[in-house]
């Protein structure tokens, strides 16, 4: 069905395998997906997220982090917003990697509208996921729900640039709740005007100085693990 460019409706379990009760708490009942990527999703998957109005340094960092992870055969997950998200997706694609966009609109809409072309390309060659049914209105809360879903889909999350009111911080808190690794890029923590990411360090977030530090969080295989006794 998806090979013909159509949309499939899946449960989170079909996409990710069985979920524990902490993961189930905010998992949407169903997800609408478009794109040729295999299901269940291959791993590892890392979210790269951050500000829409990103600085030049933030955009460069997002590109470099995505490029590094692509070299480590990691799928780049982001939210198709402008700024850091767009830099992460486009770097993944231009470096020959794979990417998943988790969007806050139904699959037939794009936000921002300027990313419609990128969304179409990801639908055609990678994977776009939405928990919002076609035809439904887009509410502000969609973005919070989407960020939780993105945390669920990802083995780890990297916040590249953020202010204290950034939506990506919702994803950070959710990653911590799920017990997943949350990395905060050093420049965010070195910015004295930003307080919330500093608080996150007190709840288990990890300061990211060297990109190699992400790798121990990433499973090479999540499917059909067995232990011989």
């Amino acid at each position: 069905m998806r090979q013909g460019g159509g949309i499939a409706t899946l449960t989170p379990e079909m996409l990710l395998g069985p979920l524990n009760d902490v993961e189930q708490k905010y998992a949407p009942a169903r997800l609408f997906v478009a794109g040729p990527m295999e299901i269940p999703l291959p791993s590892p998957r890392v979210s790269i997220v951050g500000s829409r109005k990103a600085s030049k340094n933030g955009l460069e960092a997002a590109k470099e982090i995505a490029k590094f992870l692509v070299r480590k055969k990691t799928i780049i997950v982001s939210g198709l917003a402008e700024g850091i998200d767009t830099a992460a997706h486009t770097s993944a694609i231009s470096n020959g990697g794979r990417t998943i966009a988790v969007i806050a609109t139904p699959l037939d809409k794009s936000y921002p509208a300027g990313n419609a072309g990128l969304q179409e390309k990801i639908m055609r060659e990678h994977l776009v996921i939405s928990q919002f049914e076609i035809g439904k209105r887009v509410f502000k809360q969609n973005f919070i729900f989407r960020n939780r879903t993105m945390a669920l889909i990802s083995n780890a999350t990297v916040i590249v640039e953020a202010k204290d009111d950034s939506g990506s911080l919702h994803q950070g808190w959710e990653a911590l709740r799920l017990g997943r690794s949350l990395f905060i890029w050093r420049d965010v923590l070195d910015d004295p005007s930003v307080k919330v990411p500093q608080d996150m360090l007190n709840y288990g977030a990890i300061r990211l100085d060297e990109l190699e530090e992400i790798l121990p969080s990433l499973p090479q295989n999540e499917s059909f693990l067995e232990i011989a006794q």
């Binding site: 902490v22 709740r177 360090l201 499973p219 090479q220 693990l225 232990i227 006794q229």
Partner: protein, 219 residues
């Protein structure tokens, strides 16, 4: 005061050697991450904490640490490396609850609480890993019991054993006559050459080296 020694048992082993291309080592790391993330293994899929508890119950008569599980043993999950928000995945608590569901131990009492974050061992170089004293200083004991005879600390992974030793020392401050031991679902070994297989139950000791303030775990 940090205890000089602590007995521990563990069920599984993984090898933490970086850049290993051994499929066994890579698989053992995937199992470790499945445990840390409360994920599932096997067909039909079973949550890792439940798998650990079932395996302990199934093999209890032959496990080297079977004596750790007595009818009056209080199971105490180890806190994470940082304070937790309500509702956060807490794998040691899940292992402890599943052990209790299998009839192992008397009850689960989460009496140790982390009040200050310490660096995560997995993201620290060996020389930067928190020492037993840092763990001790970052935890408090909620005195929830009158006079327990036996406490078994429960964790997902044991590396050098500093977390266990810091927590055990805290508990012995409050309950000086209590027997304290430790159980981890998995132990880390550094070198591929020492790795035998994932299912490798062992009983051993964590020893405090007072001169340098760190620990040695054997095996």
């Amino acid at each position: 005061m940090i205890l000089p020694q602590l007995e521990f048992g563990s069920l599984l082993t993984y090898c933490s050697q970086k850049n290993s291309t051994s499929q066994e080592v890579i698989h053992s790391k995937s199992i470790m991450l499945a445990l840390k993330n409360g994920r599932f293994i096997g067909q039909p899929p079973v949550e890792m904490p439940q798998w650990i508890a079932r395996s302990v119950k199934h093999d209890i008569s032959t496990l080297p640490f079977s004596s750790f599980f007595q009818d009056d043993t209080i199971l105490v999950p180890m806190p994470k490396s940082a304070p937790m928000q309500k509702g956060t995945l807490w794998v040691p608590e899940r292992i402890a609850s599943n052990l209790l569901n299998q009839g192992l131990g008397e009850k689960v009492v989460p009496m140790l609480e982390r009040v200050i974050a310490v660096p995560k061992s997995a993201w620290s170089t060996p020389q930067d890993r928190p020492l037993p004293q840092q763990h001790y200083d970052s935890m408090i004991v909620q005195k929830a019991l009158a006079d327990p005879r036996r406490i078994l600390l429960i964790d997902d992974i044991v590396t050098r054993g500093s977390t266990f030793l810091g927590g055990a020392s805290r508990i012995r401050d409050v309950y000086p006559n209590c027997e304290v031991r430790a159980f981890a679902g998995m132990r880390a070994i550094t070198y591929e050459s020492d790795f035998v297989k994932e299912y490798h139950p062992v009983k051993g000791e964590i020893t405090y080296r007072q001169m340098v303030g760190d620990t040695i775990r054997f095996p």
